[in-house]
Amino acid sequence: MKRLGVIALVIVLTGCANSQNSQSNTISQSDVSAISLDSTTPFSVSRVVVLANGVAEIMTSLNARSILVGRDISSTEKTLESIPVVTSGHQVLPEKVIALKPDLVIIDASTGPKSAIDQIRSAGIKVVQTPESWTLVDIAIKVSAVAEAIGAPAQGVLLNAAIAGAIQSSQLSSKPRIAFLYLRGTSSIYLIGGAGSGADSLISAIGGVDVGAVSLPRPFNTMTAESLAALDPEVIIVMTKGLQSVGGVSGLLKLPGVAQTRAGKSQAIIDVDDSLLLSFGPRTPSLVVALSQKVSAVLK
């Protein structure tokens, strides 16, 4: 049984912290906060390198930042800036990892290349693979796996309870029709999120209807002008850099099909920080609240 200190759940739901962005409909990292535990507990490891998307954030929320010695490039939170990055792009650099002398490296299915992971294992370093999280349901599984890996399962239980409690209170009564668009204008990639995109679970959590998830066959579907116009969402959610890549809201409205939707006509476009939207971790409850408030605001 782990000794638990005083637990303080720091839940700062700053969806209302949009005073800076009341016109822009942007949800940035500063608009949300992570749920964190203030308890202390001994860990079974002392030097951890995380190479799995979102795990550094979970480590911080488990109050295990002190044992974090290296991270991947996708961990962009301000509190992690001082931790060395051991990846080049999304490629793991084994020399950098081994030089940090970790006793645990956490990876997921996307971590690569495989040869780099094999080299780390060959150096006698324990490597644990945690599951990826693509929906709200996955958060608890991932948090438990990370907590287990660092020898603090009770912390995982507490964090999961806090996250689950926070997610339950953001249901919109109007059931707005919402579409998630994944945009990379510089590569001419325009996709509509469907069932399993991740955004569908966020939209469900705020009481909205993901119009792509209802009628499109894949998690991400080619966005054709006609299919988007036929879905006719009232609100469109995009990633911030994705929106920038098509030239902002005005550029998005020029894409065929967007202007024909109710969202396009009323410019009900919400953009969310790229690393935040589908992170599915301790910041997600705060994101759900912020998203719920933004959707209400753009529908007024």
């Binding site: 590569s187 054709t224 006609e226 020029k254 065929p256």
Partner: protein, 323 residues
């Protein structure tokens, strides 16, 4: 009946293109007969089909001008560097921030790029001797490769959405067409088509060889220059708006020659109809075969155009000798 077949097929293909799509239009006939009543039909689908018609006709006529000006059966906008020049001209103009893809400004820059690249091909091919067909094709491929590479480099180095992607410039797409884009390509198609119509008798004489054409009273450099201007306007307008769509400029004039013979004035209209038919059919297939996604239209035009051309050559392999 055989001679009317392409026109009838074009009418049918256009109707099917307007009828089918990612979305089934409710009360189709009522929506079709009431302009503006259905947003998907009137703001998305019909503009796209109209763009396909204009772009197809433009690219086909551009091919006819290329073949006529060079007196070379293999000449077409992408082989002469015209297409790559249009892409580069447009990308450079867009990167200055002064124009947007699909605007009249972008079309002008695309046409200028096309003219510069094609002129460069002619100049380099003509360096050592009289313009030879072989040198023209080889130099054209080289110029095209250089311009395409620069477009690729710019696309990779400058991450601007409005510069579009390298796949757009290489394979083309009608997916981003809006009603506002139709004006520019209509203007270039009309001007380019008018020049083509005007010089078509001269192109007939040019097909007999430069010396013979000269002795028949033709100002060969002038005719060739006008053909290049028409080629640049037609290809520049199309490419700067929808990217490069392969094979239309090569296949459409040859199919037209097979059916209607070598006289250029006859070929102007029929080549345009066949080019429009090929693009409209290819675009309909590209947006319906892989629903809810789309296939690149450049792949579809090659898959349709190449077998047709091979079949024509097999049936009547002296089609080009009639010139």
């Amino acid at each position: 009946m055989k001679k009317l077949a392409p026109a009838i097929a074009l009418l049918l293909a256009s109707f099917i293109a307007v009828y089918v799509g990612a979305v089934q239009i409710d009360n189709f006939w009522a929506a079709l007969l009431s302009p503006g009543s259905n947003e998907i039909l009137w703001q998305i689908r019909i503009p796209r089909v109209v763009a396909g018609l204009i772009v197809g006709a433009s690219l086909a006529l551009a091919g006819l001008m290329a073949q006529g000006a060079c007196n070379n059966a293999l000449a077409e906008p992408s082989i002469l560097g015209t297409t790559a020049g249009a892409s580069l001209g447009t990308v450079l103009a867009v990167l200055t921030g002064l124009v947007q893809v699909g605007s009249v400004g972008a079309i002008v820059c695309g046409a200028l790029g096309a003219l510069v690249a094609t002129s460069l091909t002619f100049k380099l091919a003509n360096l050592r001797s009289q313009l030879s067909s072989f040198a023209l094709i080889i130099v054209g491929i080289a110029v095209s490769a250089i311009f395409t590479a620069i477009v690729g480099l710019l696309s990779a180095m400058v991450t601007r959405a409005d510069a579009r992607s390298i796949s757009f410039w290489n394979f083309g797409s009608l997916a981003l067409i809006t009603r506002e884009n139709l004006m520019g390509i209509t203007i270039t198609a009309i001007i380019g088509g008018a020049i083509a119509w005007k010089i078509s008798p001269s192109l007939d004489r040019l097909s007999l060889g430069d010396a013979t054409a000269f002795h028949l009273g033709e100002d060969v450099p002038r005719v060739r220059f006008l053909a290049l201007v028409a080629l640049s306007l037609l290809a520049g307008g199309a490419v700067s708006t929808v990217g490069s769509i392969a094979f239309i400029g090569l296949a459409a004039p040859h199919i037209a020659r097979f059916i209607y013979g070598p006289t250029h004035r006859k070929l102007i209209l029929h080549t345009a109809i066949i080019g429009a038919l090929l693009v409209v059919v290819a675009d309909t297939l590209s947006r319906t075969l892989a629903q809810p996604g789309e296939l690149p239209i450049g792949l579809v035009t090659s898959l349709i155009g190449a077998p047709v051309l091979i079949a024509l050559v097999s049936v009547k392999n002296n089609v080009w000798k009639t010139q």
